[in-house]
Symmetry: C2
Amino acid sequence: MITTKGRYALRVMIDLAENHGNESYVPLKDIAERQEISKKYLEIIVKDMVSGGLLIGASGKGGGYKLCRKPEEYNVGEILEVMEGKLSSVSCLSGDFNDCPRKNSCHTLPMWTEYDNMVHDFFYGKKLTDLLSKKKGSARKASSSK
Amino acid sequence: MITTKGRYALRVMIDLAENHGNESYVPLKDIAERQEISKKYLEIIVKDMVSGGLLIGASGKGGGYKLCRKPEEYNVGEILEVMEGKLSSVSCLSGDFNDCPRKNSCHTLPMWTEYDNMVHDFFYGKKLTDLLSKKKGSARKASSSK
DNA sequence: TTTATTACCTATTGACATAGTAGGCAAAAG
DNA sequence: CTTTTGCCTACTATGTCAATAGGTAATAAA
């Protein structure tokens, strides 16, 4: 499950990309109002975004936050991983739990690995600019059924 | 994140499919020992599996659990959904939260929908028999990179 | 009819994560 | 030196996860 942290972070990125490019600093107050998210809670989120190398912050009058790269140079995967940690589907695959004694005989591990790769490719293949207002003739389409 | 409930359920299914087909009842004690999972905890899990229509249970001597269909008639998706509920990536898409006031203008919702479809197709496209011991010349391969 | 074996049921727990809130300090610009 | 902004620490309510504990009910064999 993607939590509010990841989803809100994405909305902050989109807000900055759409409304202001990466020219000037935007006060968090404005973003919070536009996005209808508690400013106090967003503070926590943007703090992680700054330390994760997604944004730059500036204090004082005229301060706020801005993107530190061009919008097309971000992908969704890295944004989500800054907020959520590694996008791993099962604990068997996330970091320190790599020492499962059953890993050589486990019948389900290959599937989790395949799944993880699919998820990784999906989110790292999506650029921030893919989420901005529609341009006609875009490539990606929803996969199918359900 | 797929929790232990989903993962353990899958291992129970595989255990039953591999060791006994759907001929006879297998005591939970045996499964728990083979899989090295607490029997007490498994009780909770198989209970849900019975009420979810995955297994049949029988009390008393000679009792235990067995599959109620042939192994090739299960897919991984339905097994996981019995244990984890709907495999939804974000709360915006899971059931009652479908009433988000931003849903018509949300820039991220299409991506979550696309993602959900991909996940759904992945797990519903995997049969239980795809997880059993290897047969050479099988189709599916891990997707790529990382 | 007793006994062993099995499933089935309710309740409780500790640890942790989520989604915030509260209040103040620090920096920068006018 | 005051206003605007970010930055920092702490706290909390609620819920989920991963179990554990202890009992009752059903069934087959002795």
